[in-house]
Amino acid sequence: MPSTKTKPTRKPALDLSSLPGPETITRRTLSNGIVVLVRENDTSPAVVVDSDLRVGALWESRAQAGLASFTASAMMRGTERRSFAEIYEAIESVGASLSVSSGTHTSGFYGKALAEDLGLLLELAADALRRPTFPQDQVDRLQGELLTRLTMRANQTRARAEEAFFEAAYAGHPYAVDEDGYPETIKALTRADLVDFHRRNYGPAGMIVTVVGAVKADAAVALVEHYFGDWSNPQQPPQPVLPTPAPITGAVVRKVAMPGKIQNDIVLGGVGPARSHPQFVAARLANNILGVFGMGGRIGYHVRERGGMAYYAASALDGGLGPGAWRAYAGVNPKNVDRAAELIVAEIKKFTTRRVTEEELADNKTFFVGRLPLSLETNEGVASAIGTLELYELGLDYYRRYPGLVHAITRDDIQQVAREFLSAENYVLANAGPE
């Protein structure tokens, strides 16, 4: 533990009314259920549009791993109104960007443009989401690009370590499957699979659209209504029910040999809390203390600062709509793998057996609250924050309440949530590299 001067507990001087809240976030529900959120911001003449749709890798079978992601990418490759070339000429000629991507629980489009081009962004997004044509030559070409990307991924120590980690930590659970799929699954997918996946699963139920920038709220809502308001898909299925991940027993080690590489990547941890867990904010604070604060929290301190063993060593709490992972990771020289893993396990052991110090708690509380203005400075930051409020049903006043929620967390709360999810005895250690 680094020695520090004692600091009195302090509360930051933060003007809560400057944070997004019910008076500054416009929220409307369209007749087909789409929720539209808008925050006006005149700082620069730009706009960001973000969205969440209720479709993702959870809707695909293991044999078709990567189907959701492939479908999402393919939707921008041609629509009933525009060819691939026309779509990208329209976007790029105004300096905008627009992409459609897919995750595990949600998919969506994301766009950025000068404010005057909001209509164009929404028009192109609606075109891609509602009327994709999946031209065969485009699907073939995209398939080849995806396969090349998977080949590259298979050659990256970090990606291979993560893959092995998830396979072991979530054995038998959908999270064990990579949402980008695998060469054999991507190769087997056909245009008909993409058409079918899109037709069955894409629709307005559960959809959220967030607009932030130099636009007027009413005008933005009207645009979303214009392009998406009459969308319907009566066959859109509900969210699949997730099984509970099986408990990890003992230290489960997975090695991926990658001869020719110079450095190892290790990933160590297990299953963490979903965002909806009542102690999620405490878990976030806990993770910050363990492996983020400053130069990687306690883990960064011991593996990098004191140990000199790694350029990066930290921890991450995924959260999300399901029980995301809670894991430490580091890039280390092959001869230091065992030592780095030991240090991480030792830190987890300490973390679960002794409460964090008052000073650590105070510092991390002010970190979370103090950085709110910074995280909410740009259009991207605000769009992400507002979309999160809606996706996790936190309430439009969440950022007003957030400092209070953070300050209420105790050392016992931290220890309790750490003990629930972290263990120095039961964990997965994945290691990819030359040895």
Partner: protein, 426 residues
């Protein structure tokens, strides 16, 4: 105050100070830039500027150990530092009521960094680990070899992280001497953007930095790279299953009149690039090289990049070869597009698109005080901040004839290095 809202001053000890008030958020972004980077390094000391940057996180006289890390984090700020070919920079973006700590920290770093021997030893392995992480990536290895071939004489020839031989042999005294030589007020630029009053901020900066002693800077001008008169080729092999192609042309420096036509040419060939670390670019799927290489099924991706540099650097085109295709086929298709740009005028619409793209990217870059702080300091290294302000106008003045002229002048085979990475399995 200038029309841009920037106040520029020079203290008696040579420190250049740029201040811009932005009152939209209760934040201040604070940067200190030093005119030292890999460009200032000779063989034996490659990577020294970057390692010195690391050491600036290992304690100063008034902020020993990890005090600075903890304080900035606890205060809700973000901080980072970067070393590049032309400069090293340190920044903190903080809530407005916490900025004074960052001002004091950078003042202490400029004059009172400690370089504790134990920390030097520990950080040696960290920097080596950083380099080894890069070495895991075939793209890095290819870039390193090709860049070294492109620059036989000029010190742009090595990677910022440095060569392993030097990382293993440099001493604490070497590092400290480098720091002493280059970390001086007359070799630095201080920038603040955010929610402050110029008068007060300037007074505080004077108070904290005014006593730093100017230094006689080494008269070390990088040796100019002789004109390249023949194509150079690199063929690297190694692990993995993916092949890569890098084509690097010697390019004009940021202050050369040819720079803006090159920006337009790059946008047309490979899509608009952003020079800003904080603003992304746009996709490049309507660009000529994407159509010629990716749509044709030869490459899985193509990117082009121009850098704004003090001395002439490189215009770099990078392609990932698609599974089942060859680097030779990718290069041939690339060559056809280059010849087209050399042989005929681009059309006015393509040029207008390049300008519109730049306009959009500048708008995006103006959203954050950190991004604005970056621009002010970055441009002062190779020119003045007016370079940033006049960028769009100068780009808009480029003609199709200018674009063809620079294509003919710079995109010649005799002016380039071509690198292939070919996996051993193939």
């Amino acid at each position: 105050m200038a029309k841009s809202g920037v106040t520029k001053t020079r203290l008696p000890n040579g420190l250049t100070v740029l201040l811009k008030e932005v009152h939209t958020a209760p934040l201040v972004s604070w940067w200190v830039w030093y005119r030292v980077g890999s460009r200032h390094e000779r063989p034996g000391h490659t990577g020294i500027s970057h390692w010195v940057e690391h050491m600036m996180f290992k304690g100063t006289q008034h902020f020993p150990g990890e005090v600075a890390d903890r304080t900035v984090a606890a205060d809700g700020g973000v901080r980072n530092a970067m070393t590049w070919i032309d400069w090293t920079t340190y920044f903190e973006t903080m809530p407005v009521d916490k900025i004074d700590f960052a001002l004091r920290l950078e003042a202490d770093r400029m004059s009172h960094a400690l370089f504790p021997p134990k920390e030097v030893a520990s950080e040696r392995t960290v920097v080596i680990s950083e380099r080894q992480g890069h070495e895991n990536n075939p793209g890095f290895r290819l870039m390193e070899e090709a860049q070294a071939a492109a620059f036989r004489v000029h010190s742009y020839h090595h990677e910022v992280v440095g060569d392993m031989a030097d990382l293993e042999s440099m001493t604490r005294d070497d590092l400290y001497a480098h720091y002493q030589q280059y970390y001086a007020p007359n070799n630095a630029i201080a920038v603040a953007v955010g929610d402050f009053k110029t008068r007060d901020m300037l007074a505080r900066i004077k108070e904290l930095f005014g006593s730093a002693k100017p230094k006689a800077l080494p008269k070390l001008s990088p040796r100019p790279e002789p004109e390249q008169k023949g194509e150079r080729r690199i063929r690297l092999t190694g692990e993995g299953e993916t092949a890569y192609v890098e084509v690097m042309y010697h390019a004009p420096s940021a202050t050369h009149p040819d720079f803006y036509p090159m920006v337009a040419l790059d946008s047309i060939l490979a899509g608009a690039s952003s020079f800003n670390l904080f603003g992304g670019g746009t996709s490049n799927k309507s660009s000529r090289l994407y159509r010629a290489l990716v749509e044709s099924g030869l490459a899985a991706g193509i990117s082009g990049g121009l850098s704004a540099t003090v001395d002439p650097f490189l215009y770099i085109l990078s392609a990932t070869v698609r599974n089942g295709q060859t680097p030779e086929a990718v290069e041939a298709a690339l060559d056809r597009e280059i010849e087209r740009a050399r042989g005929e005028l681009v059309n006015g619409e393509e040029l207008a698109k390049a300008v519109k793209q730049a306009r959009a990217m500048f708008a995006f870059g103006a959203e954050s005080v950190s991004s604005q702080g970056f621009w002010l300091g970055y441009t002062e290294i190779f020119d003045t901040y007016h370079w940033f302000e006049s960028y769009l106008d100068r780009l808009a003045a480029v003609t199709t004839a200018d674009v063809q002229r620079v294509a003919q002048k710079y995109l010649a085979k005799t002016n380039r290095t071509v690198g292939y990475y070919v996996p051993e399995t193939k």
